[in-house]
């Protein structure tokens, strides 16, 4: 159980945990702080992941079949045009030289230039990533705002084996929706809400209401996933002694569930939500395509098709960095919620 929650719950209903020994001072305090070791481990991890990512991304795109120069020059290009294109793109150098050039560029903050559009890869990402981020962040917000209360409500309503039909219906519905591929959900939303009812735009990014359907489409499955996790976690929390004691003191429902139950659910929920957000940032390709949402996913698929290697490398690298940073952020939040996670001891 997170210490913060124990502390707070104890103020109302339970015994107070013993105070920890007084903190050290000065440099020793920093070195002995669990945050110091945590920061060192995470920094090493991020550097390692990025190094592996750079190497793997380069190897991956090099092993893709097809000649980028031929594709960039066009189907009707003459051999001279293809040779010139290959030279201009630097593809006539050895693989080692190309890797050196790539890494050198990265160290200078240069992600390269698109083979096909001659745009800077950093500009492409700057254009597209906000759209993908918008979709993913709003999606995860919906997931948290709907999934957590839903899961808690069902768990409370079905506490101690009550309302089994509701529990069964919830499990069945979330199971079906959660396991339905998002492109099917997206297509159904378009057909029903967009075309049949005409309530919302079926695609595009020109107006604010165009966001509604894609956000629902990306969020619906994860809402079910989170709701099921929260429902299960809530049931466990509700069975704890301190919760029984809190109920025995007839605390108001909002205080009981929001102050004492919810914080205990956040560790697992945030961990899963972080993973879902990482997945949404890199994996909303289908939804972006269905809703003509100009995110980074559709652009990278196009780049793969056209063997636009710098774009593929740049996008994968930036998404990888984002995933690292998100994981780091989640670890920090979990560390604040439960400092024992900083030293690798999981909360019970």
């Amino acid at each position: 159980m997170p210490a913060a929650v124990l502390e707070d719950a104890a103020a109302d209903v339970g015994p107070v945990e013993p105070e920890e020994p007084g903190p050290a001072t000065g440099p020793r305090r920093v070195l002995e702080s669990p945050w110091f070791g945590f920061a060192l481990r995470r920094l090493f991890g991020v550097v390692l992941v990025l190094a592996v990512l750079v190497g793997l991304t380069f190897c991956m795109v090099q092993s893709m079949p097809g000649d980028p120069a031929r594709v960039a020059a066009g189907n009707n290009a003459t051999p001279e045009q293809i040779t010139r294109m290959r030279h201009d793109l630097g593809l006539d150098h050895s693989v080692a030289a190309q890797f050196g050039h790539y890494v050198g560029g990265l160290l200078r903050g240069d992600l390269g230039t698109s083979y096909t559009t001659e745009e800077k890869v950093s500009d492409i990402i700057a254009d597209r990533l906000p759209y993908t981020s918008e979709l993913a962040l709003l999606g995860i917000l919906v997931v948290l705002l709907v999934g957590v209360p839903l899961g808690m409500a069902v768990a409370v309503a079905c506490r101690d084996g009550r309302r089994r039909h509701l529990d069964g219906g919830f499990t069945l519905a979330t199971g079906i929706i959660g396991s339905t591929p998002e492109y099917i959900l997206g297509t159904l939303l378009v057909l029903v809400v967009g075309i049949e009812l005409g309530w919302l735009p079926v695609a595009g990014a020109a107006t604010a209401d165009a966001l509604v359907l894609p956000v629902i489409a990306v969020a619906l499955g994860p809402v079910c996933t989170i709701a099921r996790i929260v429902r299960r976690e809530t049931a466990v929390v509700l069975a704890r002694d301190y919760m029984r004691a809190a109920r025995g003191r007839r605390l108001p429902a909002h205080r009981l569930y929001l102050r004492h139950a919810l914080p205990n659910l956040l560790t697992g929920t945030l961990t899963v939500a972080g993973l879902l957000l990482t997945g949404l940032l890199g994996g909303a390709v289908v939804i972006e395509s269905v809703f003509a949402w100009p995110g980074v996913g559709t652009r990278v698929v196009e780049a793969v098709t056209l063997r636009d290697l710098p774009v593929v490398q740049g996008v994968v690298l930036v998404l990888g960095i984002l995933a690292c940073l998100l994981n780091l952020l989640i670890d920090v939040v979990l560390g604040l919620l439960d400092p024992r996670t900083l030293t690798g001891r999981a909360a019970s």
Binding site: R70, A77, L141, V190, I195, G204, A292, P294, L337
Partner: protein, 525 residues
């Protein structure tokens, strides 16, 4: 207690930030504006026609164009010297008249043509634009299609408003090349600043200017009020041209169809099954699209080196069945290596292989044949059909349907192991030369002869056809060349991959020469 409160405060702040950050990023297109409006039909009171790009244009420099989105934007921003009308007839564009031989063209420029900054377009500007297009450092993908393999020299006479083009090798298709959107005439400012030209920030000669763009989302073009030199086709749309044109970037054909059905778009172009959603109550035009024909690897050691094997394979192919597999029967069966919108293409139907299937089976039994296809076309269903019929003939068939880049490399570049492939050729010049050049000359990478075809009769007639602009002689040579290919079984003509342009209720459109042109999407009434 205080710690929990802080956490909740932090949570609420984070949620607020999450809401605000995207609003600050994607809601604002910065200096590029907000193109591609999907739902509005008015733009500051102006009337707008809404169409789509399937991806962002690669560049707004017309010379760099190599896909349909590039061609569409080039048509909107830049006019060409001539245009192609129905039946392959050339009509005036920026040039009001011309006189062409196989090595020279003299054109007279219309008076009153201006760049969108108001400066007059001179003959020397036109010559400079053509020189820029042909220069190797421009890397214009279509330069050789327009001016052939030799060197081009263009000079302008501002007093006489004439432009003289001279080639050091005969290229009878030059005038057709000058109708291609890639040869759109660029103003002097664009040639001076190619980066600005590529970004669409320099003045053009076409009916629209780029007002705003948001890559990945859409583009807005405003119609020039001073534009008066546009081509007059035999058939023109009814009504009036729009004051603005938007092109939303929509890759998915189903999404395009959804948007047209819900009134969010006025025009879409489909090649896949979504076209069946639009019945006769929707105005539409079916355009020929890319052409498909069989190419054999005729190099020594390959089964296709033996003309009897090529004939047997041709005999096993039911072209109607192939068309059903690859285009759901929507394509038009070809008579040659391109469709009937091209001048001089064979008019008589393909006569077949002249061999019965029993004889074909005897020849093909046990032959190892590697079929290479591209999976972007109906998932490679056409080549899967070829695999099935050749297997049925007793051949040992290996099929690989690969992505476009691999196909272009291994098939067009002849860098892979294949014996039989299907060429899918987008013939924008609508000449026989474009597909014909894949069956003649040196092997890749030195030349473009995909299958290593060695057909002297074809090659001679190909070169002769390029050496004359006399229509009758030109077509006679091409007829002989095509017949030489077909009777020697160097190819089997298959089918077009049709594109269906579908229009919203308020749109009137024409497709002269069998090609879609966004500047010819007009508003009814």
């Amino acid at each position: 207690m205080r710690r929990v409160n802080r956490l909740w405060s932090a949570g609420v702040s984070a949620a607020t930030l999450i809401m605000l950050v995207p609003a600050c990023t994607t809601g604002n297109s910065g200096s590029s504006g907000g193109g591609g409006g999907s739902g509005n039909t008015s733009n500051g009171g102006a009337t707008v026609v809404r169409t789509t790009f399937t991806s962002d244009p690669k560049s707004f420099d017309p010379a760099k164009g190599d896909n349909n989105n590039d061609y569409m934007s080039a048509r909107v921003l830049y006019d060409t010297l001539v245009r192609r009308d129905d039946g392959g007839k050339l009509i005036p564009g920026i040039a009001e008249s011309w006189n062409a031989t196989a090595t020279t063209v003299d054109l007279r420029i219309k008076s009153g043509v201006t760049c969108s900054d108001g400066s007059p377009l001179t003959a020397t500007d036109v010559a400079a634009s053509l020189t820029y297009f042909a220069a190797p450092e421009t890397k214009a993908p279509a330069a050789k299609q327009v001016f052939g393999t030799g060197t081009m020299t263009a000079t302008g006479d501002n007093t006489a408003s004439t432009v003289h083009i001279e080639l050091d090798h005969p290229w009878a298709d030059m005038m057709f090349g000058l109708a291609m959107p890639q040869t759109g005439i660029v103003c002097a400012a664009g040639i001076k600043d190619p980066a600005a030209l590529a970004a669409g920030k320099t003045p053009g000669t076409g009916p629209f200017t780029l007002e705003s763009s948001r890559r990945g989302a859409g583009y807005t073009f405003s119609r020039r009020t001073d534009y008066s030199w546009g081509p007059i086709f035999a058939r023109m749309p009814e009504g009036r041209p729009p004051s603005a044109l938007t092109a939303s970037v929509v890759t998915n054909e189903s999404t395009q169809a959804n948007q047209l059905q819900t009134g969010a778009l006025d025009h879409i172009a489909l090649t896949g099954p979504d076209m069946d959603r639009f019945g006769s109550d929707w105005a539409s035009s079916t355009l020929p699209g890319p052409n498909q024909f069989v190419v054999f690897n005729e190099r020594p050691g390959h089964p296709g080196a033996d003309p009897r094997v090529r004939q047997a394979i041709a005999a096993m192919i039911d072209r109607t069945a192939y068309n059903n597999a690859s285009t759901r029967g929507k394509g038009e069966l070809l008579t040659s290596i391109t469709d009937k919108t091209s001048p001089c293409v064979l008019r008589q139907e393909y006569a077949g292989a002249g061999m019965d299937k029993a004889a074909a089976r005897q020849i093909l039994a046990g032959k190892k044949i590697r079929v290479l296809g591209v999976n972007v076309l109906s998932g490679g269903a056409g080549t899967a059909y070829l695999q099935a019929v050749l297997k049925e003939a007793g051949a040992d068939v290996e099929l690989r349907n690969v992505g476009f880049a691999t196909w272009a490399t291994e098939f067009i570049g002849n860098a892979g192991q294949w014996d039989l492939g299907v060429m899918v050729n987008i013939n924008l010049s609508a000449t026989l030369t474009t597909p014909g050049s894949f069956m003649h000359g040196d092997d890749p990478p030195k030349g473009r002869n995909i299958g290593g075809t060695q057909n002297p009769e074809y090659s001679q007639n190909f070169l002769d056809a390029l050496g004359t602009t006399d229509t009758a002689e030109h077509c006679a040579k091409w007829e002989a060349a095509q017949n030489a290919l077909i009777t020697r079984f160097d190819t089997v003509p298959l089918a077009t991959v049709p594109e269906k342009s579908i229009y919203g209720k308020r749109i009137s459109a024409v497709t002269p020469g069998g090609y879609s042109d966004p500047t010819l999407l007009w508003l009814k009434g």
